[in-house]
């Protein structure tokens, strides 16, 4: 059953074997796994419940309806747009469906550096297999490529740069172009249309518009959660709820989970690290109209520089990021450009000529999450080697577009940097990526309540259960010990499924 909190007034009380806070990649996957095996599950999400018919694709309204803080959340110096969804289905409602398995080298790092013995292909591949099967994940075929994807592929091939079609979570996709505002046609296999309905049909209760304020802890052990039912139009509380459960799973995303834990506990590790995979964009003017409004945003990705390169003495020599093809509607595009006045209008008049790439930087320096006025705040600065990676990305992305035939490439910084040839690349420097010098974003939020064997360095033990609060589990991006170096969605699902198997095994 799905219960829309916005339609309820007065107080509610429920009881379950497991209460899952958050309904996205981690929460949905875990809840369905447990529901399939007979556990009584309650799911809670602060966001609203929407169906395909509600996803009108208009960015003007969608930004406020489906995004956290109405699409206006930023790091605390306003330098980085923090992007996450607020809806049943969580971030899978607005993600692009990119579904990469965690690279083996990253699993090995987590296994050795964080004592996570099960972070191996042998342990995780069965989970990856199951999820890929359930969500219909497949390599993007030619019908999902728009011109932007094709041009990036052409540029990579011309340069001899490694890139590949992206594994994507969709079935019978019609390539309408605007998956980031919720799939209007039930083709992207988000949690909203896969795991959530199954939990609902199997007797689980899924509450929307339900903001969890506090974990209930009695005698040092979790006993449930409580919070407020919100009016979706105003965001104001209109009732209270309480769910009693001996297993409390936190899956509200790296920010939501951290915020709840910071409000409920004094755990010293929570929020200490936040990974976001900083995104920077370049735009390429091809001097002719291209299809940059159809297909899917990322049918093709550039992997050449995923692993950073260092000299024998340890000096950074390049890499440490992947690139994803990207396109946006005019409003977001306009907000990204740094020009003003007539120059801005002139650039926007070329909207249909623009190719675009975005970075997924595998950062070394995380930010942190803390509470301000009882709500999460993000401190994050792209610095040190991560700033060098950003500059290296801007240069290589420009090279790819030039090789693809772009007339010029725009680095959307306040210096109006334009690249027309290899010679211009020298103008891309650290000045381009200083805070608020160009639009930057983070949408891969991870690491705020990480798993690990060392209680001094991790929130939860390798099974996912909190070191210091029995009965609390974490199973979302917050649980990852660090950046995945690719889009983390599928890895979050696999980790959540592994944790669910542990909960199920312990119960039986």
């Amino acid at each position: 059953m799905i219960i829309e909190g916005t339609k309820r007034t007065g107080d509610l009380r429920d009881r379950a074997d497991v209460v899952v806070v958050g309904t996205g990649a981690g929460g949905g996957t875990l809840a369905a796994y447990l529901s399939d095996r007979g556990h009584d599950v309650v799911m809670l999400d602060r966001g609203g419940f929407f169906r395909a018919e509600d996803f009108h694709q208009r960015e003007r309204e969608a930004m406020g309806e489906f995004n956290g803080r109405r699409g206006m959340d930023t790091s605390d110096d306003n330098a980085i747009f923090i992007n996450y969804a607020r809806a049943i289905g969580g971030t899978t409602v607005h993600y692009w469906g990119d579904s990469f398995r965690a690279p083996h080298d990253r699993l090995e790092r987590w296994r050795t550096e964080h004592g996570l013995d099960w972070m191996t292909p042998a342990a995780l591949d069965p989970h990856f297999d199951a999820i890929e099967s359930e969500l219909g994940i497949h390599l993007a075929g030619e019908s999902l490529f728009n011109d932007n994807n094709r041009l990036v592929r052409r540029g990579c091939e011309a340069l001899g740069v490694e890139g590949a079609a992206v594994p994507t979570a969709r079935v019978d996709c019609i390539a309408c172009g605007w998956t980031q505002f919720g799939c209007a046609f039930n083709r992207k296999t988000s949690q909203l249309i896969t795991t959530i309905p199954r939990v609902s049909r199997q007797g689980g209760r899924v509450y929307s518009d339900a903001r969890v304020d506090r974990i209930l802890i009695e005698n040092g052990r979790a006993r449930g959660v409580e919070g407020a039912l919100l009016n979706r139009a105003t965001g104001r509380p209109q009732g209270r709820f309480r769910v009693d459960a001996n297993t409390v799973v936190l899956a509200g995303g790296a920010l939501g989970t951290a915020e709840l834990l910071l409000r409920s506990t004094a755990d010293p590790v929570v929020g200490r690290r936040l990974y976001i995979n900083p995104h920077y964009w370049v735009f390429a003017d091809f001097g002719r109209e291209i299809d940059n409004v159809g297909g899917i945003p990322t049918a093709y990705a550039v992997h050449e520089w995923r692993r950073e390169r260092r000299s024998p003495s340890g000096e950074y020599q390049g890499g440490g990021y992947i690139m994803l093809c990207s396109h946006q509607q005019p409003g977001v595009t306009a907000a990204m450009l740094a020009e003003t006045g007539a120059a801005h209008a002139e650039r926007m008049s070329k909207y249909r000529q623009l190719g675009s790439l975005m970075s997924v930087i595998d950062e070394e320096h995380p930010g942190r999450v803390y509470l301000r006025d009882g709500r999460h705040a993000v401190s994050y600065r792209v610095r040190g080697i991560d700033a060098l990676k950003a500059v290296d990305y801007l240069k290589n992305a420009s090279r790819i577009f030039l090789a693809a035939g772009a007339r010029e490439v725009w680095v959307p910084d306040i210096h109006s940097t334009v690249v027309r040839s290899e010679r211009n690349l020298a103008s891309i420097t650290l000045r381009s990526v200083m805070p608020n010098a160009q639009f930057a974003a983070g949408s891969h939020l991870m690491g705020t309540a990480p798993l690990g064997s060392d209680p001094e360095d991790s929130f939860a033990d390798p099974s996912g259960q909190a070191h210091r609060i029995p009965g609390v589990w974490v199973a979302d991006g917050a649980a990852l010990p660090g950046s995945v170096s690719v889009d983390p969605s599928l890895t979050i699902m696999a980790v959540a499924r592994h944790i669910a198997a542990g909960i199920d095994g312990a119960a039986s």
């Binding site: 009108h56 209007a184 083709r187």
Partner: protein, 205 residues
């Protein structure tokens, strides 16, 4: 009540700023203005600027249907939109109205910050060598002034510029009235008929 208004009743202020003025209660909810180097001084300046609080009160009284902004803040937002949107056929008042609504809806640090940025924009023109307030400049002068913020070596001013710029351009170009100018063909629902496979969500109440 705006945070600037509240400087007249500093009973819950949480600290001092240069000059000994008390910070308004809203300071706790501030975001980048508090976190950015120089932000505390900027907030203090906003609190100390002659007439800032008085104008906010007068504006609020005249604002009528506004939900978040005072009348004066609305005028600053409208003036900024007018300056930024050169050759763009979108009513700057519509942008300011949308800003008012969005700030009301989101609340918290974002609302506090943007409102303070509007006040600083209006009153810090002398630091840029301009003797008149922002809303008293013509659109060309306003744009030049905004660009000094964009290009500033101080992160605080760049951050403040971005807060306004991003909002104005997003809501201008997200308006379907601009689709023709950009060549954006529009969204699919309602335009291109596509079947939607049904999803059985079970009972929904």
């Amino acid at each position: 009540m705006s945070s600037i208004d509240s400087t007249t009743t500093p009973s819950s202020a949480d600290g001092s700023v240069p000059g000994g003025a008390r910070l308004p209660p809203g300071i706790d909810r501030r975001g980048f203005l508090r976190s950015t180097a120089g932000g505390g001084v900027a907030i203090g300046l906003a609190a100390l600027l002659p007439g800032c609080g008085r104008e906010a009160s007068a504006g609020a009284a005249a604002a009528g249907e506004l939900r978040s902004l005072t009348g004066k803040e609305f005028e600053v937002a409208r003036a900024a939109a007018e300056a930024l949107l050169v050759g763009v056929p979108i009513d700057p008042s519509a942008i300011a109205t949308r800003l008012d609504y969005e700030l009301w809806a989101v609340g918290g640090a974002i609302e506090e910050d943007v409102r303070t940025v509007l006040q600083l924009l209006e009153h810090l023109t002398p630091l840029g060598g301009r003797l008149r307030r922002f809303t008293e400049l013509n659109p060309t002068e306003r744009l030049a002034y905004l660009e000094t913020w964009r290009n500033s070596r101080f992160n605080l001013r760049r951050a403040s510029f971005n807060a306004i710029k991003s909002f104005v351009y997003f809501f201008a170009y997200a308006d379907p009235a601009m689709w023709a100018a950009t060549g954006f063909p529009g969204t699919w629902p309602g335009r291109i008929p596509v079947g939607i496979p049904p999803i059985d969500f079970g009972e929904v109440v």
